[in-house]
């Protein structure tokens, strides 16, 4: 029999993933914005000469200048320094929370998809109920129970956004589980854990990756909202949500101290969103498809 070269399809390595992401304008913009913000957060200490938290009575509400590129805030602190530092905490907190969400939501969703039956039925009604709770209300409730603070909010964010991942993961698993190779594994007597790890996970990992990126961008928004409301980052930590909250009264007088953190937050969220979208398209994950309940 002659060996026949065939296209490796989607089963091959992902060496060209970056290529395929960069093939779309959304991918280029998304990747650039995301990398820009990650670089800012990493290089923040090198980029600014001013202290981020020390108030200075001499430099209150100064307009942008060569000395203070983005002006100063109501406590006389350099806005540029605070904006470049402000992403650090948000990125770290939400990245951890996204990892938690994808791990727990992904595995529970896969389990439900493989096991099916009554367990799945009951668990999904719980998921539906959870999804009907407004996110902010839930966070405020949890924050008042476990207390505020950036790091105590991580498991809360991870748990809440993980519930949405369960749905996605379960729907993807159901499609994989309908294939004969999963039936073959069951007929062979494989354990549920092995089936999930070896048969299902490699086929849903792309979907989970894209979903994780998407959840990450929503968590950024949620975390900034919580900081804005005083349950996330605590002063004097430089944080965009916090900066917007404390300076919003001076929007008419010193708009730079509100608008710059707003711009930073929006560009990061838009960037991650575009990246997730391009990633999904590059991996052949169709996010527009309806998700069965």
């Amino acid at each position: 029999m002659v060996a026949r070269p065939r296209s490796s399809g989607t089963g091959g390595p992902r060496s060209h993933l970056l290529h395929r992401i960069m093939a779309r304008p959304s991918g280029v913009i998304g990747l650039a914005l995301t990398l820009f913000h990650v670089a800012l957060a990493l290089l923040a200490p090198l980029l600014s000469v001013h202290d981020v938290s020390l108030p200075n009575a001499d430099t209150i509400n100064l307009a942008p200048s060569w000395e203070h590129l983005m002006g100063t805030d109501s406590l006389g602190r350099d806005v540029f320094a605070r904006v470049v530092h402000g992403g650090q905490l948000a990125l770290m907190v939400t990245a951890c929370a996204a990892a938690i969400a994808i791990t727990w939501g992904g595995s529970v969703g896969m389990l439900l998809g493989v096991v099916g039956g009554r367990t799945d039925e009951i668990a999904m009604r719980f998921v539906d109920a959870m999804l009907s709770i407004p996110s902010l209300a839930f966070f405020l409730l949890m924050a008042s129970v476990v207390g505020g603070g950036a790091w105590t909010i991580v498991p809360v964010l991870g748990f809440f956004y993980g519930v949405a991942v369960i749905r996605i993961s379960r729907a993807a698993t159901l499609q994989v589980a309908a294939q004969d190779f999963v039936m073959a594994a069951k007929a062979r007597g494989e354990r549920t854990g092995t089936i999930m790890r070896r048969e299902v996970l490699p086929n849903v990992s792309s979907i989970l990756l894209v979903e994780g990126a998407m959840q990450w961008s929503w968590m950024l928004l949620a975390f900034s909202s919580l900081s804005f409301l005083g349950y996330g980052a605590t002063p004097p930590t430089p944080d965009w949500g916090l900066m917007i909250a404390s300076e919003r009264g001076l929007l008419a007088v010193a708009p730079w101290s509100v608008l710059w953190p707003c711009a930073a937050l929006s560009t990061l969220i838009i960037g991650i969103n575009l990246l997730a979208d391009a990633l999904g398209k590059a991996l052949g994950v169709d996010r527009t498809r309806e998700v069965p309940g």
Partner: protein
């Protein structure tokens, strides 16, 4: 090319362009001429270009395709020189297509009446009243029951055969001079297939339309075509009269193809055609078939063969009808092998779907009848039990219940004498290992993200405690056993052909060193020549390992080729069980007789017998004989009220029927008019 031809294809080559703009040919230098009223069959395996050719006859090229040379003339008009608008008018009006799986080509939200009416409005100048009359006439022509009944239904309320009839009516309604039938009966049950073929044959005779049938099935082609074009790798390798080509093919490819078809009259595994056809668009030198040809000479590999005349047409071969090599056939042992140990046994197996939850119980709904009822299965080592039946007969359900994937309502399964739990999750791993499964669709049975090595390693890891060295050796042995090179271990399934994938599926089952293997329609997704190779592989592995098989198929001839004992199923009930020779010889169960009669052979002189209607069966009946509604020999009320007893007809052969044995012998023995085969002049009911 005669001037009287309806469609003439003149040196047509078409294809697409590669990345460098180089032509990649799908069809190569095809010349054919079709006279009005002629019936022509295009036959070939998947990828042979038969559908592309049929569509080109309608002036249709797939996206990205272009014509590199030649032309297609429809009534002396160059079809590809016409404007797109003119071509669109020609299609439907003068040449119509009945697509594969007609059910999907009907609009689900339109009633049959509106569906056909739309076609008439588009393609004919008739007014409303005339169209209504025409509709009635068309429905009558395709033998659908009176208009009132069928015309007001939606497509999903019709059976597959009825949907096909509606599609045919729509095509006829336009008054086309030529009809293209793309795999007209693929996906239909054998009994329905026989009805559709009979209808199409009559239409071709009565209406005088030119009919072009595209099919992979030589049996279908034999029924529908006077002239046959055998296609291989984009070329017409042989052209001639159906009787001539099918009885004495001149080209080695149709010869090998015919030899690879399992036949009811020979209890043997057919000859395999090894190798795979060249990929579409590959550059080639010499004859496309040379690498697989048993009589190929140096000249065949060096240059393309010329088209040469044969007794009944033409063939593209250096040595037409030369050097006939008798195909090697694998004779199966004639005596039933009932000596091995009982490796699989199931008693009183009944499966019911949707037993109803709390809601159904509260509403006191009648429980649904069993999808499978009181089935007995016994398989000995080295023996094959064939399960035969049409779709919905419960074949796959039985396999799932045996494997513990579906929990039966009643019944007990024993593997190698050990009673096992109903669900596979409750079975001990030691009791699972002797029972393995091979799936119908190798595409979906292999994880696309795993290499062949990972796929075959799974059972080894699960059942055996092997050292890395032993694993490597075992994998190499497995690959050798299924005749694949060890290099394939590092490939992904997407890098394998259909037949190769199925070999991996077989290797995975045998990796467990099973005592019994459940084979679920293992060859129905494969081309005929590949099917023969897989059947041989399965037979050989059984020979060397002494494995027992439960072999499920809808194809009686395939089952006949491999099975020692056969169980015929209808709606989950056993109709007839016995040694293969006894089941395939009178006396038959009436259903077996119907199935046997519907079988097609690649011989234009035989016709399938139509012993029953192609009605849709609803849920299985809870009382009486399951086959009562379609039985050609129904004797009366006893069939409706009492479950027929399994009567013994000789050793191990039993038939579940109320008709007393002597009468059944008379009714189904070969000297009754309802026998199968022969130049029967069967009429539609």
């Amino acid at each position: 090319m005669s001037t009287g031809s309806l469609i003439a294809i003149d040196g047509l080559s078409l294809g697409y362009r590669g990345p460098a703009g180089d032509p990649r040919l799908i069809l190569r230098d095809i010349t054919l001429s079709l006279s009005p009223g002629e019936t022509v069959g295009l036959v070939g395996e998947s990828g042979s270009g038969k559908s592309t050719l049929a569509l080109a006859m309608m002036g249709y090229l797939g996206p990205g395709l272009e014509i590199f040379s030649g032309r297609v003339l429809f009534e002396q008009e160059d079809i590809f020189a016409l404007s797109e608008e003119a071509r669109r008018k020609l299609r439907g009006k003068r040449i119509a297509l009945i697509p594969q799986s007609a059910g999907q080509s009907l609009t689900p939200t339109l009633r049959v009446r509106d569906q056909i009416d739309e076609a008439l409005r588009l393609h004919t100048p008739l007014n409303t009243a005339e169209r209504r009359d025409r509709l009635d006439a068309l429905l009558h022509q395709v033998r659908l029951p009176p208009a009132v009944e069928i015309a007001d239904r939606y497509p999903h309320q019709l059976s597959g055969g009825q949907q096909q009839r509606v599609a045919i009516a729509m095509a006829l309604g336009s008054g086309a001079k030529a009809l293209i039938l793309d795999e007209p009966t693929t996906g239909l049950d054998v009994t329905t297939q026989a009805h559709i073929l009979t209808l199409l044959r009559r239409l071709a005779q009565d209406a005088g339309v030119t009919m072009i049938t595209v099919s992979h099935d030589l049996g279908v082609i034999a029924q529908l075509a006077e002239q046959i074009a055998v296609m291989y790798a984009g070329e017409v390798v042989e052209w001639g009269s159906a009787a001539g080509v099918l009885s004495a093919p001149a080209h080695p490819y149709p010869r090998a193809l015919l030899a690879s078809i399992p036949r009811l009259d020979a209890q043997e595994v057919p000859a395999a055609l090894e190798g795979v056809p060249p990929l579409v668009g590959d550059p080639r030198q010499g004859c496309a078939f040379a690498p697989r040809c048993s009589i190929a000479k140096d000249a065949c590999h060096a240059s393309a063969p010329p088209i040469q005349p044969t007794d009944h047409g033409t063939a593209r071969c250096f040595f037409p009808a030369g050097m006939d090599v008798a195909p090697e056939r694998l004779q199966r042992p004639q005596s039933p092998r009932r000596t091995g140990v009982l490796v699989l046994e199931a008693r009183d197996l009944s499966v019911r779907y949707g037993t109803g939850g709390l809601f159904a119980r509260l509403l006191r709904r009648e429980p649904r009848p069993d999808a499978v009822a009181q089935v007995e299965v016994q398989v000995r080592g080295g023996e094959t039990l064939g399960l035969v039946g049409e779709s919905g007969s419960g074949k796959s359900t039985i396999l799932r219940a045996l494997a513990g994937l579906t929990v039966p309502r009643t019944g007990q399964v024993a593997i190698v004498g050990q009673p096992v739990a109903a669900s596979v999750s409750d079975r001990a791993i030691k009791t699972i290992q002797p029972l393995q499964m091979i799936f119908q669709n190798a595409d979906s049975a292999l994880n696309p993200r795993q290499t062949v090595r990972e796929i075959l390693d799974a059972p080894l890891r699960l059942y055996f405690d092997l050292s890395p060295d032993e694993t490597v050796r075992r994998l190499a042995d497995l690959m050798a056993a299924v005749r694949l090179p060890s290099a394939y271990l590092d490939r992904f399934p997407s890098q394998l052909s259909g037949g190769e994938k199925q070999r991996i599926g077989i290797a995975r089952a045998f990796a467990a060193e099973p005592r019994v293997v459940l084979c679920d329609e293992v060859t129905s997704a494969l081309d005929v020549s590949v099917q023969a190779a897989v059947l041989r592989l399965i037979a050989r592995l059984q020979e060397s390992h002494g494995t027992g098989y439960v072999f499920v198929s809808h194809d009686l001839a395939v089952v006949q080729a491999v099975a020692d004992r056969i169980a015929v199923l209808y709606q989950g009930r056993l109709c007839e069980v016995g040694p293969a020779a006894a089941v395939f010889a009178p006396p038959y169960h009436p259903y077996t007789q119907v199935l046997m009669g519907a079988i097609l052979t690649p011989d234009p002189s035989t016709r399938p017998a139509l012993l029953t209607d192609d009605v849709i069966e609803g849920a299985p009946l809870s009382v009486g004989c399951p086959f009562q509604n379609r039985c050609p020999h129904k004797i009366g009320s006893i069939c409706q009220t009492e479950t027929p007893p399994a009567r013994r007809f000789g050793e191990e052969h039993s038939i579940a029927c109320h008709i007393d044995p002597a009468t059944l012998c008379d009714l189904t023995s070969p000297d009754t008019p309802a026998q199968r085969g022969g130049p029967a002049t069967t009429d539609l009911p």
